[in-house]
């Protein structure tokens, strides 16, 4: 047996310290995997482009629709809005109701089209009341 030097315990101590360090790092790593995995699915779920799309479609319709009391014309317009409702439920699983109501503004170079959009797909609910001004 050689001479015993009590400074040698540093080696074992370092072993312990490094091990404990690895252990704690491992706990942190295992916690961190929870974060970050829901980002892409949240983006996939959030119907941003769908709402933008509906909005641009409806405003496009409103621009083309002038004030009228013609029953046939009103029925045609109702059919278009019904298309939106039925197709949104059938293909996008979303409740979509839209109304477009053109109003004549006196003493104004513009007419007003009052648009309401209601969209709900169970994750996101979106309601908008928008006034689109259309040149007479």
């Amino acid at each position: 047996m050689e001479r015993l030097d009590d400074e040698a315990q540093w080696i074992v101590l370092m072993g312990f310290i490094v091990s404990i360090g690895i252990f704690f790092l491992a706990i942190i790593i295992s916690q961190s995997t929870i974060v970050g995995q829901t980002t892409s699915e949240a983006v996939l779920e959030f119907p941003k482009t769908e709402i933008q799309d509906v909005r641009s479609e409806v405003i496009g319709l409103a621009k083309a629709w002038e004030v009228t009391a013609n029953a046939g014309e009103l029925a045609k317009r109702a059919a278009v809005l019904e298309d939106l409702r039925v197709l949104a439920m059938a293909r996008k699983n979303a409740v979509l109701t839209v109304s477009v109501d053109p109003v004549t503004l006196a003493d104004d170079p513009f007419n007003e089209s009052r648009i309401t959009i209601h969209f709900n797909n169970g994750v996101t609910e979106y309601d908008e009341f928008h006034k689109e001004y259309i040149e007479k």
């Binding site: 074992v12 995997t33 809005l81 197709l87």
Partner: protein
């Protein structure tokens, strides 16, 4: 003669090494998490790209004009098909800033359907608008991960349109659905 100095150091060194190895082994075993948590990120990017392409196609060049997409749909049984293909694949999905390059989107394949409501029955019907396989692309065969992008398009019977359109000849809103995959 074998030097017998520092035997104790050696034993302790071996013990320390074993402790570290054991911990590293246990730790790797317990916390190696195999989570395909990011699998939806490419889907998300693809969806956004195609949705942007359709939005650009649906934007009229001048305020109040008809968009390219609306024109393609008016001609859905004729020239609209090839026009849509060229616009989507050649113009919009390959547009980059700077000088034109062969952007790595050549492997994108698509299948476009138009959904419409028949007012007589109230039922939802669809027609195949066009697909990349009909324009020199590949069929959807190998279970590639696909995404689906939709865009509303208005149809106006008063404007020029091709014959044989399956939907009612009235002003209406159609839903264009494009399934896209890398294949």
């Amino acid at each position: 003669m074998v030097g017998d100095d520092a035997q104790l150091y050696t034993i302790e060194g071996v013990a320390a090494g074993m402790i570290m190895l054991l911990t590293a082994y246990l730790v790797l075993n317990t916390t190696s998490v195999f989570t395909p948590g990011d699998v939806h990120i490419p889907d998300m990017q693809l969806e956004q790209t195609v949705s942007d392409a359709l939005a650009m196609m649906d934007t009229p060049a001048v305020n109040g004009g008809r968009s390219d997409l609306a024109r393609f749909v008016q001609n859905a049984t004729g020239s609209g098909r090839a026009d849509f293909h060229n616009a989507l694949m050649a113009t919009y999905l390959r547009s980059t800033t700077g000088p034109p390059i062969q952007a790595p989107v050549n492997d994108l394949q698509y299948e476009a359907q138009i959904y419409y409501r028949q007012s007589a029955t109230g039922s939802v019907q669809n027609m195949t608008f066009t697909r990349s396989a009909a324009n020199g692309g590949r069929e959807y065969l190998a279970r590639e991960p696909a995404v689906r992008v939709t865009r509303w398009v208005s149809y106006d019977p008063a404007l020029p349109h091709t014959l044989g359109l399956p939907w009612d000849n009235r002003e209406q809103a159609l839903l264009l659905e494009v399934m896209v995959w890398r294949g």
